[in-house]
């Protein structure tokens, strides 16, 4: 019954999504507001329906309804509640359903937030999002349904794989999915902007914030994935360049590139084609990642096994790529740059190089990932590359990216001069050299360290300098105390200082990665109880083995005391367990994490005699990866702050509540009836706008005017930034004067244009006033009661002739109002001339 509801909901959701695509395009072409409202409602109804489906699947998992294949495969009688719920994303069908839920959530948010803005883009953006939804809904309806039945329900499920019964596993897939799916929103806006040729600043503004969200979720998903691998897989590392990991990191690189190059477009109107392409690439890479784990084309540690979905994904991906390229090429004229690069030594060109390197890194990873397929296709031989390839290629590229991360913030927009370069680079280079000397003095003389230390020091020095100068400028300029000045930096320039915070996070991650990669120590020892072994500065003393067994799990837990300088600093309990039902071993790592190093102990084998083999790793500085990740995420949150001019978006929830019926019939009939019920509810909800009568034609906003205002705002922002740069001493007074002059000239030109536009508006208002006055006059006239003798039209007291027929007014005197004859020349009462 519950499953029937889920099945029905998915079916109706597919129909609604298809309707949404068609109606969205129609609304875009005809600009009909009622159709657009109906599309929004379709999005909300779709979200409600997939939520119903997800709830039905979770309810079936919790209720252990083994008549469903998915439930029988991924949960069992002894599964606790939380694992019963999270087993939703343990299998292909359930995880695709999660994908759709997240997609529809974002689509609904887009439908909500575009009610008062992006009027022209919204219909197409919604159509694109619904189109992506159609693709995924088709798959979970017809190709791999989570509600597929088993002819004979088994008494117990096969159970979730014990390897997945892990805290990190519960949260890491949803986090990554949020990142993957949110990439569809910028893509949808990009397509909408291309279709409507509205490639101005408007779409890029909205897309920037969404991409920030995508970036944050992708970072979170990747970090949690690394954490999961580190704590549960038991090989002592957190990143293995597995195809699935590569698939998750590639869109991260392209999104990072976009977040930098979009600043150039916002400021200078340049690199439009490049930015659109980055958005498309990010979306395609997320689809590629989803495809990779399901297609079985590449061998990976975690794939969904061979499934029949590969060709569909491939077709969809091909359609998206070819369609986007065709769309971009057909709009090249609309994507022309508004400005050209002023100087090679400018922040623009440093962003350009940084973009190139980020894309280079993404491409190198992509090439390594698909190399087996490429070599098989071209040479008939499958050749693979492993971790050494990625380390060799991506390592140097990342080093160069870090170098630019240091340079970029220190050089000014448009043009930097040698003098201010020296001024700005002195301190960071000093910090870099100090870091290098410190490493040499500490005896850390490995080549990766010697290369990375000065670069990371340089970046850090630059960030410190930026914060110090910014805060000092506020202290001097506004007389704020230092802490306030420091905090206000984030509030006043969120994207700038939030970005720097992300950079600090990246430095910390780099420190952690280099520490654990270059200085990892591993040892293996077979020990009797009481025996001990050494690793790094630690002594591990094996205290004893504790064995317990239940019907479902055999636990072998070793107690290992950790000693440092003869003093016990901790105890670790590495486990090697076995699940007889699934014939599945499980390793639980004994982990002692400190800021300096992680002690990572794995129970490799045990004997009934109590003898054990311990494999232990000493991973220096790993904790800084997680700390750096947290700092970077915090930074991206700061970037998300609205800044000095708050951009308000109203959020209210508005959803259809589908009803259920409780008839007891066969599953097919049930599904059909429920589907009809859902469809009816959805039909009323979605079709409602059409029954409201013709909507009042809304005054179209003057888009050109809005565009001018946005340009004015961006020049104001650039001016503000320039003033700030001047106050922090980043640019010379001469350059400041020159640039400020040019910005002001641009601003004046824009303001003039704006005035002209608004003058038209004012004239329109004048007309309005005239009309109003005229109509008021008519009513007053009616009140005076004077009428023309010939035609009977209303007359004013001051009218001497009738406005309608030209007959002279004759019934009353103009001065005293006394009745007069038509032929009279003077008023018979007061003598006034008529």
């Amino acid at each position: 019954m519950i499953a029937d509801a889920g099945r029905a909901a998915l079916l109706v959701a597919l129909i609604l999504a298809s309707y949404g695509v068609a109606a969205g395009i129609f609304a875009g072409r005809t600009r009909r507001d009622d159709v657009l409202l109906s599309v929004r409602r379709a999005a909300w109804a779709c979200f409600a329906l997939v939520l119903v489906a997800a709830a039905a699947l979770i309810a079936s998992l919790v209720a252990k309804d083994y008549s469903l294949r998915f439930v029988a495969l991924y949960t069992s009688n002894d599964a606790p509640l939380n694992y019963a719920v999270t087993s939703m994303w343990a299998g292909n069908a359930g995880s695709l359903l999660l994908w759709v839920v997240v997609l529809m959530l974002f689509t609904s948010i887009v439908a909500l937030t575009t009610r008062h803005q992006y009027r022209e883009l919204a219909p197409y953006a919604l159509a694109v999002l619904m189109g992506v939804g159609v693709f995924f809904l088709t798959m979970i309806n017809f190709l791999d349904s989570p509600f597929q039945r088993l002819p004979v329900p088994p008494p117990d499920g096969r159970g979730l794989n014990p390897l997945l019964e892990n805290y990190w596993m519960q949260i890491h897939p949803p986090a990554l999915y949020l990142g993957y799916v949110s990439a569809a929103v910028p893509f949808a806006f990009a397509v909408a902007a291309l279709v409507t040729r509205r490639l101005d600043a408007e779409w890029i503004k909205g897309t920037h914030r969404w991409t920030l969200l995508t970036w944050a979720f992708l970072s979170l998903g990747n970090l949690l994935g690394a954490k999961w691998a580190y704590e549960t897989l038991g090989w002592g590392g957190y990143w293995g360049w597995d195809p699935v990991e590569n698939a998750a990191i590639m869109p991260w690189f392209t999104a990072t590139a976009f977040l930098h190059s979009v600043m150039i477009q916002e400021r200078r109107g340049m690199m439009k084609v490049w930015n659109v392409s980055l958005i498309v690439a990010t979306f395609c890479l997320t689809i590629f990642g989803t495809f990779l784990v399901r297609s079985g084309v590449l061998t990976s540690v975690h794939s969904f096994g061979l499934s029949n979905l590969g060709p569909f994904f491939f077709g969809f991906l091909g359609f998206v790529i070819l369609g986007s390229i065709a769309l971009i090429v057909s709009r090249l004229k609309d994507l022309r740059s508004e400005a050209t690069l002023d100087s090679v030594l400018s922040r623009e060109s440093s962003f350009l190089v940084n973009n190139l390197l980020l894309i280079g890194a993404a491409f190198a990873i992509f090439w390594g990932t698909v190399y087996p397929l490429v070599s098989e296709a071209t040479r008939g031989l499958k050749v693979t590359v492993g971790a050494p390839y990625y380390d060799e290629v991506v390592g140097p590229i990342l080093l160069a990216i870090f170098l630019l991360m240091g340079i970029g913030p220190l050089i000014a927009w448009r043009r930097a001069t040698a003098a201010n370069l020296v001024r700005n680079f002195r301190f960071p280079i000093g910090v870099g050299l100090a870091a290098l000397l410190a490493c040499i003095a500490l005896g850390l003389r490995q080549i990766p360290t010697l290369l990375a230390a000065p670069v990371l020091g340089f970046v850090l020095g630059g960030v410190i300098l930026e914060f110090a100068r910014g805060a000092r400028a506020r202290v001097r300029g506004f007389g704020e105390p230092w802490p306030t000045a420091f905090a206000r930096l984030f509030a006043r320039h969120p994207s700038r200082y939030g970005g720097y915070l992300v950079h600090v996070g990246m430095i910390l991650i780099a420190v952690g990665v280099i520490g654990s990669k270059v200085y990892q120590d591993a040892s293996e020892a077979t020990l009797q109880p009481g025996g001990s072994t050494q690793i790094g500065g630690y002594t591990l003393r094996y205290e004893g083995l504790n064995q317990t067994a239940t019907a479902t799990r055999e636990v072998n837990r070793a107690t290992v005391a950790v000693l440092s300088d003869g003093r016990q600093v901790g105890t670790l309990y590495p486990e090697k367990n076995f699940f007889p039902m699934q014939q599945q071993p499980q390793t639980i790592v004994g982990l002692r994490s400190t800021l300096a190093d992680d002690l990572y102990v794995v129970l490799a084998a045990w004997q009934p005699s109590g003898e054990i083999t311990l494999k232990s790793y000493l991973n220096p500085l790993v904790a800084w990866i997680w700390i750096g990740g947290a700092v970077a995420l915090l930074g991206s949150l700061v970037c998300f702050l609205p800044g000095p001019r708050p951009a308000r978006t109203r959020r209210t929830q508005d959803e259809a509540t589908p009803r259920s019926c409780d008839c007891r019939r066969g599953p097919v009939t049930n599904t059909l009836l429920l589907a009809l019920a859902f469809a009816a509810a959805a039909f009323i909800f979605v079709g409602w706008p059409f029954f409201q009568g013709r909507p009042r034609p809304q005054a179209r906003r003057d888009d050109a005017l809005a565009e001018l205002r946005r340009k004015r705002d961006s020049i104001y922002a650039a001016l503000r930034e320039l003033e700030f740069d001047a106050r922090t001493g980043k640019i010379s007074p001469k350059d400041h004067a020159e640039l400020s002059e040019s910005y002001k000239r641009q601003a004046i030109a824009l303001l003039k244009q704006l005035d002209e536009r608004t003058r038209d508006e004012l004239l329109a208002i004048d007309d309005e006033i005239e009309r109003e006055v005229a109509s008021r006059r008519t009513t007053t006239r009616r009140r005076t009661g004077l009428r023309c003798v010939a035609c009977g039209a209303a007359m004013d007291a001051s009218d001497r002739f009738c406005r309608q027929c030209g007959v002279p007014r004759s019934r009353s005197c103009t001065r005293c109002g006394a009745a007069v004859e038509t032929g009279d020349r003077f008023c018979p009462r007061c003598g006034a001339g008529l």
């Binding site: 784990v293 690069l341 090679v344 280079g360 060799e392 599945q584």
Partner: protein, 166 residues
């Protein structure tokens, strides 16, 4: 005659290529550097990815590292008591009669169980087109053996997590 008057023409705007010369050179240099890095690194680190019939057919150098994909035959896993590795019989996905004895030294991943799909990387120590090295073939505890003997330095077992086995 124009006399005193001289006509000053606005300076011709240089083409995009000339204006961005330095930048274009830089961009090309970076692209070339990345391309060079990728190609040399692939040459240095790439390993062939074979199936069991393929390594039987191919001349493999005694030290050449290859990757082989296959499945673990049920009941053939022999774990070393000290936890230092395992031996097992691997068979080809398409032709289960094609087998190979794999000796792996290293930590066993939890995903490595009877019947799981594995990828091993290492070298062939006996058998194949290159001939045998004269070592006696290893016989697994359940009596199964193969003329192909492989020493693996890495073992990758597919995570059955999301593995639809039914």
């Amino acid at each position: 005659m124009l006399g005193e008057q001289s006509i000053t023409l606005p300076p011709a705007r240089p083409s995009a290529f000339v204006r961005h010369q330095k930048l274009i050179v830089g961009v090309v240099l970076i692209a070339l550097a990345i391309g060079y890095l990728i190609t040399t690194s692939i040459q240095n680190t790439a390993v062939y990815y074979h199936t069991i019939p393929e390594i039987r057919a191919r001349q493999l150098g005694p030290t050449e590292m290859v990757r082989v994909n296959g499945w673990v035959r049920e009941g053939t896993i022999e774990k070393f008591a000290d936890g230092s590795g395992a031996r097992f019989l691997m068979y080809d996905a398409n032709d289960p009669s094609q087998t190979m004895v794999v000796t792996y030294k290293g930590l066993l991943p939890d995903t490595f169980v009877d019947g799981s799909e594995v990828v091993v990387e290492g070298k062939l120590v006996a058998g194949g087109a290159a001939g045998t090295t004269g070592r006696a073939p290893i016989v697994l505890p359940n009596g199964s053996t193969s003329d192909l003997q492989f020493e693996a330095s890495t073992l990758l077992a597919k995570c059955p997590s999301k593995f639809e086995a039914a």
